[in-house]
């Protein structure tokens, strides 16, 4: 049992990291695209800022663009922690979406605390000193499981009962919500079944880090761990990876107002030298993008 769980855990994390990295690389490698930004852009620091950006201060703009990282972080925090967009525009969905995501965050936080705890154990910190940490982790874990459960199950009902959402659903969407709910429910069951949940999880983590397979895990906890790990293997195969792909949808597209520079130009010239194979009558076949764009130019030498 111990070997199986430890092996599965390592496999899961390696798989997860590899798959997510592969997805990120695939997206990052896509060609430079035309500008398609959308206001408000938080990183704009221009004095004319209302929700605008550097174009507003055209003549007065500084030689060097000033971008604010802090504003971006604050904006992303409001979105990721408070789900401001959903609150404003889809309020009946908000309680469930918010709880589910906060549940996930809290569970992740509790796992991080187990890791900290495990490291402290390995370095020989006395067990009594870790009590406080374990209590906090235990509370966070339970809160996470309960909120997450409420959110996931709530979403299953909301999506099937709300006519606006129902017809856009698919088996895949329900499957992942049911799977996630199962993870949270098994978490609650395990939490109440094990006498000191956070301590047990920390010990398991310690054994993971030290590759010590001699552990005994109660069945409910084992079930929870297996469900959790299988879910993490399933995750990168779906669009649940939006949690990290959002970096691209925001920074590479929506907030990408980077003006033309020499490096970009070289890449763009190369892209324009590709051949288009579109079939419409107004597009000549076998020509490059650059040739097609210049096609309607009158002969400048003749004029």
């Amino acid at each position: 049992m111990g070997i199986f769980l430890i092996a599965l855990t390592y496999f899961t994390f390696v798989f997860l990291i590899l798959m997510v990295t592969a997805k990120l690389i695939k997206i990052a490698r896509m060609p430079e695209h035309l500008r398609w930004e959308l206001a408000p852009i938080p990183h704009e620091k221009s004095k004319n800022k209302y929700s605008g950006f550097y174009l507003e201060g055209y003549e007065k703009r500084h030689k060097k663009r000033r971008k604010s990282l802090v504003a971006v972080v604050i904006y992303m925090a409001k979105e990721m922690l408070l789900f401001k967009g959903v609150w404003k525009n889809n309020r009946t969905l908000w309680p469930f979406s918010f709880s589910m995501h906060i549940g996930i965050y809290l569970v992740i936080l509790s796992i991080l605390l187990y890791i900290v705890n495990a490291l402290l154990m390995i370095t020989g910190t006395p067990a009594s000193a870790l009590d406080a940490l374990e209590s906090i982790a235990a509370v966070i874990a339970l809160a996470g499981y309960i909120l997450g459960c409420f959110g996931a199950i709530g979403l299953i009902f909301k999506r099937s009962l709300d006519a606006g959402l129902r017809y856009f659903g698919s088996l895949a969407i329900y499957f992942r919500l049911i799977f996630l709910a199962a993870v949270f429910i098994s978490g609650i069951i395990a939490w109440f079944n094990v006498s000191n949940f956070a301590l047990t999880m920390s010990l398991f983590t310690r054994n993971l880090l030290t590759l010590n397979t001699a552990i005994t895990i109660a069945t409910p906890l084992a079930v929870h761990l297996v469900l959790l790990l299988l879910f993490l293997i399933y995750l990168p195969l779906t669009d649940m990876t939006h949690f990290i792909i959002k970096y691209f949808t925001y920074h590479a597209v929506r907030w990408n107002d980077e003006p033309l520079n020499t490096k970009m130009e070289a890449g763009l010239n190369e892209l324009q030298s590709q051949t288009s194979s579109w079939s419409a009558p107004h597009i000549p076949s076998g020509k490059t993008w650059a040739e097609i764009a210049a096609e309607k130019t009158p002969d400048e030498k003749a004029s």
Binding site: I27, A39, Y50, G52, L55, G57, V86, Y167, V253
Partner: protein, 535 residues
């Protein structure tokens, strides 16, 4: 209870209309526009038109698509559509928007948050057909089925397969033109999926692969502009002639010299109007001439086709035409050796030429471009012209064109001008980057189709009309003349259609016009009022 549309209803029976238009379902308007008996009857297709044209979507035809002759023709189009889908997802054929498109296709959580942000969806009384996600999700599922490997089996197992037949194709084509590309949906999406982008890609597929596009955008739009200079049909000589006439006419009526310079080599600024203003809102053209001259600016217009018309309908439906027109505009500026191109009061021109074109105009075509809002603001606050704001003492509100405000983030300069020069200026709610589209965006303003204008005035323009009425609610009625400042020709044309349809001039005394006219109206030097109250 209104019935809900399923996604694969789109592929059912091509001869039946998918959705019946019902005035009672629409969002109510405030009085005196709340009585449907007092409004013009909505124009329907004649029996002859119904026999000859496809009208299987919602009773309106924006595209006058002819019925196919036989099954072979239908299959041909379906095959072309699939081949177009593949090209849309390839680097060689769609490098221009590949990354944004793939991100939007892959990461939608189907939460419908975007629907409640869409003015078309809301105005229609929450009709599923007009959800940003309805066409986007169908598009996504078609790609899953017909382009992804093993798609046919996978979608069948997942229960997400939609058949691509003539019904689906012909309906999607019309449905792609029920969106204003305003991108409010993209703004509200927590993941930043962009349904307006997907709609544009759908239009692009039809245009670049099948050669299908609305006549007003393509044949009489970009093609005509590249051929003779302007979608209005004005050749250079006609445009110059018209502007010369305006110069003479206003010189006589205003008592100051109004003279527009043409083809001045080495000028600081090439001003790029939307040539439609010459025909539809000539005061705008004259206002710019007066302001540039009074401020002592070294400027010029260009008479080389298409250098006197800044529109670029390619932005709405076709990357090839978009690229061709921005290239011509930049070449003309380069040849004239001007230091900068300044946009006129035209919304999509700003987005096409300032930001989207930024990665198309490389090398010495990368000439500096400036928006009209900061340009006008600089003139007003330069101190070179004396103004008397009391001359603009009537209710004024501002409509924010999506392409200038939501897409380029230029929000304050025009407001500083209006707050200074218009004592009764008030905002609409919401405004700025949260504004609603006028209903004419995405090229819809210039598309009349068969009976499409009635859809635009009733559905896509509904919320904007309501906003305008609410902004002027403190001074209702035709006795007080009211001005909606609109720095975009396509928006002005749409608002003009709306006001005409509802009788807004007769019932409420509302007209629209640009910002330049308001500025000139406040000039001390001009004794006669520049804005004439007639519409």
């Amino acid at each position: 209870m209104k019935k809900h549309l399923k996604l694969n209803d789109i592929s059912k029976d091509a001869s039946i209309q998918l959705n019946e238009f019902n005035l009672d379902e629409l969002m109510p308007l405030p009085p005196p526009y709340d009585k449907s008996e007092e409004l013009p009857v909505v124009k329907r297709l004649t029996t002859e038109q119904q026999a000859r044209l496809v009208s299987n979507l919602d009773g309106f035809s924006a595209l006058a698509l002819p019925q196919p002759k036989n099954k072979e023709e239908e299959s041909k189009y379906v095959r072309q559509f699939i081949s177009g889908l593949k090209k849309l997802l390839s680097k060689e054929n769609n490098w221009t928007f590949l990354q944004p498109l793939l991100l939007s296709l892959e990461y939608c959580a189907r939460c419908q948050t975007c629907s409640d942000a869409c003015h078309v969806y809301l105005a229609s009384g929450k009709n599923d057909l007009y959800r940003p996600t309805y066409r986007a999700e169908i598009f996504r599922r078609l790609i899953d089925k017909y382009v992804k490997r093993g798609g046919k089996l996978a979608t069948k197992l997942k229960g997400t397969d939609i058949e691509l037949n003539w019904a689906t194709l012909s309906r999607l084509y019309e449905l792609a033109y029920r969106c204003n590309l305003c991108r409010r949906c993209a703004q509200t999406c927590p993941i930043s999926v962009d349904n307006a982008l997907i709609t544009r890609e759908l239009r692009k597929l039809f245009s670049q692969e099948l050669g299908w596009a609305p006549k007003e955008l393509h044949e009489k739009g970009t093609v005509l502009q590249l051929d003779i200079g302007s979608p209005t049909g004005m050749r250079p000589a006609v445009a110059m002639d018209n502007v010369k006439f305006l110069d003479e006419d206003f010189t006589e009526s205003l008592g100051i010299k109004v003279e527009t310079p043409w083809d001045k080599e080495g000028a600081d600024i090439l001003l790029l109007h939307s040539a439609g203003d010459i025909l539809s809102f000539p005061e705008s053209i004259v206002a710019f001439t007066i302001l540039c001259n009074a401020a002592g600016i070294n400027w010029t217009l260009s008479s080389e086709a298409p250098g006197y018309d800044g529109v670029n309908y390619g932005l709405f439906y076709d990357d090839v035409q978009l690229a061709r027109i921005v290239t011509r505009h930049a070449q003309i500026a380069r040849k004239l050796k001007v230091k900068k191109i300044v946009m006129g009061e035209c919304g999509h021109e700003h987005k096409a030429l300032i930001t989207v074109a930024d990665r198309l105009l490389t090398g010495d075509l990368n000439i500096p471009r400036q928006d009209a809002m900061t340009f006008l603001e600089d003139i007003v606050f330069s101190g070179k012209i004396k103004f008397d704001p009391a001359k603009n003492d009537f209710p004024v509100t501002l409509h924010d064109p999506c392409n200038i405000v939501r897409n380029l983030g230029i929000v304050e300069p025009q407001r500083r001008v209006l707050r200074y020069l218009c004592p009764q200026f008030r905002e609409m709610t919401p405004h700025g980057v949260d504004n609603y589209c006028c209903g004419g965006g995405g090229g819809l303003s210039v598309i009349s189709g068969v009976n499409f204008t009635d859809w635009k005035t009733n559905v896509s323009g509904r919320i904007k009309f309501k906003q305008i009425l609410e902004a002027f609610a403190d001074r209702p009625g035709p006795g007080v003349k009211k001005y909606v400042a609109v720095p975009c020709l396509n928006c002005k044309l749409q608002l003009r259609d709306i006001f005409k349809y509802y009788g807004a001039w007769e019932k409420s005394g509302i007209r629209c016009g640009g910002i330049a006219e308001l500025i000139v109206n406040a000039m001390v030097e001009i004794k006669k009022p520049f804005i004439t109250w007639s519409e």
